[in-house]
């Protein structure tokens, strides 16, 4: 019984985490992982004059 609960929690927990994470990341697009996104004014946002 204990094994079942443990496996069940691990599987569904990880699956939920993986799904949630992946959807959150893909919504953000690629710049989310950029290490200088804070000081980078040109890349992560659309440049107004080129809209």
């Amino acid at each position: 019984m204990f094994v079942n609960i443990l496996l069940g929690v691990a599987i569904f927990g990880y699956a939920g985490f993986a799904l949630f994470n992946a959807i959150r990341k893909s919504k953000k697009g690629k710049c989310a992982a950029c290490s200088i996104k804070n000081s980078c004014s040109s890349n992560c946002s659309v440049i107004p004059n080129q809209k």
Binding site: I11, A15, G16, L19, K30, I47, Q50, K51
Partner: protein
């Protein structure tokens, strides 16, 4: 000691990314064409406490395109210590324009004179010491691809011998110099870099610089100076604007530098590149050669190498792996519920996708081979004529080729296109390129229905994607996105012998996402889909036809009846496929409870006919960009309207094409 921050800048396709990889010991995507880097990349320098920032390739600090602005903004906003300017030694004249502007900026920098071997072969002998003395900065001859000269470059950085350059290399007419001095007195003193550089850039009407300065001094202050300089230029030179005048003045200085520092020897041998180019960029032969190469690529991927490998992997997963898992679950006393989620959910869903890894890697290997050898750049020029005819920019072909790997970086690569409308058009059409995720769906179906003609069927789908994109380009550019004047100059890089290491890395780089996704997203998706197929309104462990998944799939299934696949299974796969196209395969594996690929193909062939299967594949190819792609379209186009449009138009096109194929096929008696 503080951490050093060093920028890496140069013209497109001069080997910046190669150098970046050697200096940082990391690996980044290297392609033998312009515009590979469209955003900054940061790496930690080897042996030195510092960061190296790889900037997108630019010809000038006065940017035309979105990706070029990255470099200029870097100069304006980042607090860096020095810059490595990488130069293609065989294209000295063009490369030095940027170098002179960096020198004018005045921060310490050094030059990496790359492709010195190519320059020598074409008969150019560069007096490095003399050039270094003139510019007053260290110059290191390099062959970045093989790593020659890297140690010298590192030792300069280590000993901190990077020097302040000669900022007064270029001087303008006295009247202009006076205007520059006037502007300099109006500018604040604590600007990063040389004040004179700002003055010149203001006159050149460099947009990022104007925006930057505007935050400190109202830009209207300089209107008079700009007008004055333009009037002077028009009256006293052949240039039409100050920008052009500055270009001409720098060019004169560059030609002088070249006369002083370069000895040209006559090289009599017509290079091999030129000979090959005559054939592969031929007006009529170019496209057929490209198609033939693509076809051969698919032959390798499917018929010759890929399928046997995938079959082996499949029998491994469905045999030893599944048996081991079953025995283990039995031994630990797992309940039926847990057994089912692991065997029918995870192993079926994730394993079903992993099976196609060999094929995907083989395809990527060949695409990398074509890129790295320099051939893809030729294809882009060959396609240019065709692209221009349909209203696209010639450069649009590159995002599309990158899109064959994954649509997300493809759409990002559209940043290299200057005209906003052409860029938007490219962004909208790139999702029609068949990405590797879709390949797994094709693999599954061609193995079931087109055993003898796998390569040709998949080839036809890829081709259909490209042709549809071109046709839609014609329609869109004549209706909703009227075309603007545009130019395309693609530089042809020299052919080069691909290097195994870089080739394998490049293949891995493209394919790793697929493997990673299997462990994360596909895993999560498989568990969720399994649960929807296990549970229903009637409780848990319901018959499949009464599960939630059947209800959801069945709800939209009637829409697909006219195009040949009105089953709830197809409907459910298509819905889940929006999250990621590979999930279609996972869903099918879970729905059909197939223990291995052979039996899955058997079950599928019971519910599809070859005709409806082909119609389904065409639909999968086009019906909607996946979630990640939609997010990038939104980000890059900056418009919700166009994002929604990209989803709807592709669905409609997919439906029409599938209906046509299914209708005509049925009429013909298939």
């Amino acid at each position: 000691m503080n951490k050093l921050e060093i920028g890496l800048i140069g013209n497109p396709n001069t080997g910046k990314t190669s150098l970046f990889n050697s200096l940082t010991g990391t690996y980044n995507y290297v392609g033998n064409w312009s515009g590979v880097t469209v955003e900054k990349k940061v790496g930690t320098l080897k042996e030195i406490n510092g960061n190296l920032i790889d900037l997108p390739g630019v010809y000038s600090l006065n940017p035309l395109t979105k990706d070029e602005q990255v470099a200029t903004n870097y100069f304006l906003n980042e607090n860096f210590d020095s810059v490595i300017n990488i130069i293609d030694a065989s294209q000295l004249e063009r490369n030095l324009h940027l170098t002179l502007q960096i020198a004018e900026y005045g921060k310490p920098f050094m030059i990496g004179l790359n492709m010195i071997d190519v320059a020598l072969r074409s008969g150019m002998k560069i007096d490095v010491e003399k050039l270094s003395n003139k510019l007053q900065v260290p110059i290191i001859p390099l062959v970045a691809r093989t790593g020659k000269g890297i140690t010298d470059l590192l030792s300069i950085l280590k000993k901190n011998e990077v020097r302040n350059p000669n900022t007064k290399l270029v001087s303008f007419d006295d009247e202009i110099e006076q205007i520059i001095t006037d502007i300099m007195t109006l500018l604040p003193e604590n600007l990063p870099g040389n004040v004179r550089w700002y003055a010149v850039q203001i006159l050149e009407e460099n947009e990022p610089v104007l925006n930057f300065v505007n935050g400190l001094v109202p830009i209207s202050t300089f209107e008079q100076h700009i007008n004055l300089s333009n009037t002077f230029v028009k009256e006293n030179s052949s240039a039409k604007s100050f920008k052009q005048y500055a270009y001409q003045t720098r060019r004169r200085e560059i030609l002088q530098l070249i006369t002083d520092c370069v000895i040209k020897e006559n090289s009599s041998n017509i290079s091999l590149s030129t000979k090959i180019d005559k054939i592969v960029t031929h007006k009529f032969l170019g496209i057929p050669i490209f198609l033939l190469l693509m076809f051969i690529m698919f032959k390798f991927t499917f018929d010759w190498i890929g399928t046997p490998l995938s079959d082996t992997l499949d029998s491994f997963i469905s045999g030893p792996v599944t048996n081991f898992a079953t025995d283990l679950l039995q031994a630990i006393g797992a309940s039926d519920f847990i057994k089912s989620v692991i065997l029918n959910g995870i192993i079926a869903g994730v394993g079903g996708v992993l099976v196609f890894v060999p094929q995907i890697f083989i395809l990527f290997f060949f695409i990398s081979l074509l890129e790295d050898s320099g051939y893809m750049a030729r294809v882009a020029t060959v396609m240019d004529v065709l692209m221009e005819k349909v209203g696209l920019n010639g450069k649009a072909f590159i995002p599309m080729i990158i899109g064959l790997g994954c649509n997300v970086p493809g759409i990002m690569a559209a940043r290299t296109i200057e005209q906003p409308r052409e860029r938007l058009l490219t962004i909208l059409l790139t999702p029609l390129m068949s990405c590797s995720a879709r390949l797994s769906v094709y693999s599954l179906f061609v193995a079931a229905f087109f055993k003898e003609n796998q390569a040709i069927v998949v080839f036809s789908l890829y081709l259909l994607g490209i042709i549809t994109a071109l046709l839609l380009a014609v329609i869109f550019s004549k209706t909703i996105l009227k075309k603007e004047q545009s130019y395309f100059i693609m530089e042809l890089p020299p052919y080069r012998k691909p290097q195994w290491i870089s080739l394998f890395r490049s293949t891995w780089d493209k394919g790793k996402g697929f493997v990673k996704k299997a462990g994360t997203f596909i895993f999560g998706g498989s568990v969720a889909i399994w649960f929807l197929s296990y549970a229903g309104p009637g409780g848990l462990n319901v018959p499949l036809d009464h599960s939630y998944l059947a209800k959801i799939g069945g709800f939209i299934a009637p829409i697909f009846e006219p195009i040949g696949f009105g089953t709830w299974q197809a409907g459910a796969s298509l819905i889940t496929g929006f999250l990621a196209k590979e999930v279609v395969v996972s869903t099918m594996n879970i729905i059909y409870h197939a223990p291995n690929m052979a039996s899955l193909t058997h079950v599928i062939s019971g519910t599809f006919t070859p005709l409806s299967a082909y119609s389904f594949l065409v639909f999968i190819l086009l019906y909607i960009p996946c979630l990640a792609t939609v997010a990038v379209i939104k980000k890059e186009s900056g418009s919700t309207k166009w994002t929604i449009f990209s989803m709807f138009y592709s669905f409609i096109i997919a439906y029409i094409l599938s209906a046509l194929i299914y209708g005509i096929g049925t009429l013909l008696g298939y």
